[in-house]
């Protein structure tokens, strides 16, 4: 299992962002849905080793992220795209991705090939030498994805990865997600249920720091058959689950 968590919680002062969730996940694409403030980003940040849990057990890639040695080993094999992507405007696309490859301790001899492959996978080969300050928002998002996958991670964590991508790029990105999910555990936090439907094999819906639903996208869509809110089956399922939890 790449992700093993048991009764995981995270508090920020009096606020409990994540309230005792458990999950075991191997390879595959895992969609994380939920309204704003449900605890998706906090959970993702714990999985990314950005913040430690307040309580509970968490093991990533078979290691304890609470121990320095284990954390470093995990971080070599992790890819993370935060919601708010930061970048250095003076770097070129290749330099930025190379920078992260080096920080992730990709062996030096493999860096050029790994960078080239990552840049090609997000279809930015033609902009490889362009400075980041010259790129559009969608292109920058793809650069962020490239830096996340440059180390061929076994655990990939994407927070709103398709924000800013045009429809064609989103289709391409979903294909990339499915491809990555063949060998790695990919967790995608998103508000766009169509992304989940198209790319994820499993979906978890969070509400108020807890898992309100887990299963396949098809099962979630089925939950919405009797519910009228939403334009698509998945949206109706999503609304139905949330209505149930709230009531």
């Amino acid at each position: 299992m790449n992700i093993e968590m048991d009764d995981l919680t995270r508090r920020f002062g009096r606020t409990q962002a994540v309230a005792g969730v458990s999950l075991q996940a191997g390879a595959g694409v895992y969609g994380l849905l939920g309204p704003n403030g449900a605890g998706k980003t906090s959970l993702l940040r714990m999985l990314a080793t950005v913040i430690p849990p307040s309580s509970g057990t968490l093991r990533l890639l078979g290691r304890d992220p609470g121990a320095a040695a284990g954390r470093r080993e995990i971080r070599r094999k992790i890819g993370y795209l935060p919601q708010d992507l930061g970048y250095y405007p003076g770097f070129t696309v290749v330099e930025f991705v190379e920078y992260f490859a080096l920080l992730k301790e990709v062996p030096s001899s493999k860096v050029p090939a790994a960078v080239a492959a990552a840049v090609e996978r997000v279809e930015l080969g033609g902009k490889a030498k362009a400075k980041l300050r010259t790129l559009s928002g969608g292109m920058l998002r793809r650069v962020g994805i490239a830096q996340a996958i440059v180390n061929e991670p076994e655990l990939l964590l994407f927070d709103e990865p398709t924000a800013g991508l045009d429809p064609e790029q989103r289709v391409t990105f979903r294909a990339l997600l499915r491809d990555l999910g063949e060998t790695s555990t990919v967790v995608v936090s998103t508000h766009l249920v169509e992304d989940v439907g198209a790319a994820c094999s499993q979906v978890v819906l969070m509400y108020d720091g807890k898992f309100a639903y887990r299963g396949t996208p098809a099962e979630l869509a089925a939950r919405g058959d009797e519910h009228s809110v939403g334009d698509a089956p998945l949206e109706r399922g999503y609304s139905a689950v949330l209505s149930g939890v709230r009531s």
Partner: protein, 526 residues
């Protein structure tokens, strides 16, 4: 509520394990190269180099062609001041990068310890600083070496300069990391500029730790002829290096202490590094507290090298163009013809008289506001001349002219000592007063009249002193400035000057003892 979701456990394809050792070193080299290419410090280089050329290089080249003179500005921290504010500011900008660009979270979850990544970023920035500043100093030293007439190259100021800049870079970088705002960099630059400006003139021993002030004190004497008469002192530079290395180590250690920088062991290592920096800096502060400063020479017993107390031996270069030999240190032999010619009328006028000097010797410069300090000592009498060379306070070195604080308009040191006409105008009166005071005295009207008469016969008219009216901060000159035309003393001086040389000589031989004893009045004069 606790929910459990389980995905089918498809085992990830096994990947080649990461190699450590040489592969990591290669990766570090690659990271450094990447940081070097994109370091904002590159933007600082043209500014620093231009300021160095405009401020330090041009002015240094106008000074006397000795190592001591032409490195005087460097030793006062001028070159460091050209670079340091920009270095600290750009280092802070670099350090604040992750905070400003919101990359901290992405980078925080990478494997390379944050301390190592930060050090790599700092090292790249500092590499450009050292390269640019080293290049400027190399150009300055090569230029001096191509035309220098004496002395030896001082190396401690170079070490102090580079250490100071590396420390400024480390401190600026650490502040940028800790306060990642766009305002940090300009604030750091301004604060560094102000600290350097203040410490340059601040009194007290502890201000000497600043690289912008202390090198001038660390050399013996604290004048431009350091390295000519005495070896360069190294006590204070050593302590300065301790201090700035300590601050740099402290700053770099601090970068690794925060929790995001790795495991407990890494943080412990960073804390130990920071503590070592504090210990080193504190040691330097303690050492400078024990310093003694005599005539601008700093002695710190714990690090003192006594071999630096021994004067540099030399064979003087002498001129026979005047009635008595005029000798200077060979480092200044280019000035010998003009000095001998400028003083010749005076020396010729008194040569052979009782108590007159039989030789003029250059001696080490002393801290004084006069262009020359002259004294007659020994028996037979010797005229000791302490020439002020390259002193900013008196001989301005800017092509734009003298600062308002300089009351005696003349010229640069180099221009002055190369011109017999200027020496006759500016130096001869001061030397002449010292000679006549030694021979005759200035205590009473008779002595003043004879002294003025002798000076006039040596080409220094009495009206010269009146016209200067307080320009020379020399007590003896100020006595003669008060002898106004029309007074009995002035008239007696004119009469004495009008006598033939033989008559003056004969009268002095007969009356000098009584005159010096104060037993003659104006009525007794010829």
């Amino acid at each position: 509520m606790t929910d459990v979701a389980t995905l089918a456990d498809r085992r990830p394809v096994p990947r080649e394990p990461h190699r450590h050792g040489s592969a990591l070193r290669l990766a570090s080299g690659r990271l450094l190269r990447l940081e070097l290419r994109r370091s904002p410090m590159l933007l600082m280089i043209p500014v620093g180099v231009f300021l160095f050329w405009f401020d330090t290089y041009r002015s240094s080249m106008m000074l006397d062609p000795t190592w001591g003179s032409q490195t005087l500005l460097l030793r006062q921290g001028s070159a460091l001041e050209d670079f340091a504010p920009f270095v600290a500011g750009f280092a802070a900008w670099t350090g604040a990068r992750d905070g400003r660009r919101r990359t901290a979270e992405q980078i925080g979850v990478t494997a390379l310890p944050r301390w190592a990544a930060r050090l790599s970023s700092w090292a790249a920035a500092t590499f450009w600083v050292v390269l640019a500043h080293g290049f400027c100093l190399a150009i300055l030293y090569m230029s001096i070496d191509s035309h220098v007439t004496g002395g030896s190259a001082p190396w401690w100021p170079v070490i102090v300069d580079l250490t100071g800049l590396i420390a400024m870079s480390a401190i600026g970088f650490a502040l940028g990391v800790m306060l990642p705002s766009r305002f940090t960099a300009p604030l750091v630059a301004i604060v560094v500029f102000m600290i350097l400006t203040v410490t340059r003139t601040a009194p007290g021993k502890y201000a000497m730790l600043s690289p912008a002030v202390s090198p001038m004190y660390s050399l013996s004497p604290a004048k431009a002829d350091a390295g000519v008469f005495y070896p360069y002192g190294s006590d204070l530079p050593k302590v300065q290096v301790f201090f700035w290395v300590g601050l740099a180590v402290l700053a770099l250690g601090t970068l690794g202490v925060s929790a995001v920088c790795g495991g407990r062991l890494a943080r412990l290592g960073a804390a130990v590094t920071a503590a070592a920096g504090v210990a080193l800096a504190a040691t330097a502060v303690g050492l400078v507290g024990t310093a003694t400063v005599v005539d601008g020479r700093v002695t710190i017993a714990a690090v003192h090298d006594s071999s630096q107390d021994v004067p540099i031996s030399y064979t003087p270069s002498c001129s026979g163009s005047a009635a008595i030999p005029v000798c200077v240190n060979p480092a200044y032999q280019d000035y010998l013809p003009s000095i001998a010619a400028g003083l010749a009328p005076l020396l010729d006028a008194v040569a052979g008289l009782p108590g007159a000097p039989v030789r003029a010797n250059q001696v080490p410069s002393v801290t004084d506001s006069l262009p020359v300090v002259a004294s007659v000592t020994g028996s037979p009498a010797t005229l000791d001349l302490s020439l002020s060379v390259g002193d900013q306070g008196l001989m301005w070195i800017s092509p734009s002219g003298p600062p308002s604080s300089v009351t005696m308009p003349c010229c640069s040191s180099r221009t002055l000592w190369s011109s017999s006409e200027l020496i006759g105008l500016e130096i001869k009166p001061l030397v002449g007063v010292a000679v006549v005071k030694s021979m005759v005295g200035l205590s009473d009207d008779a002595q003043q009249a004879v002294s003025l008469g002798l000076l006039e016969s040596g080409g220094v008219p009495a009206s010269e002193f009146v016209s200067r009216d307080g320009q020379f901060p020399d007590a003896n000159v100020q006595i003669l400035e008060k002898v106004l035309p029309g007074t009995p003393t002035y008239e007696a001086a004119q009469r004495f000057a009008a006598m033939s040389a033989q008559a003056r000589h004969a009268w002095l031989v007969a009356h000098l003892d009584l005159l010096r004893a104060g037993r003659l009045t104006l009525a007794d004069l010829p």
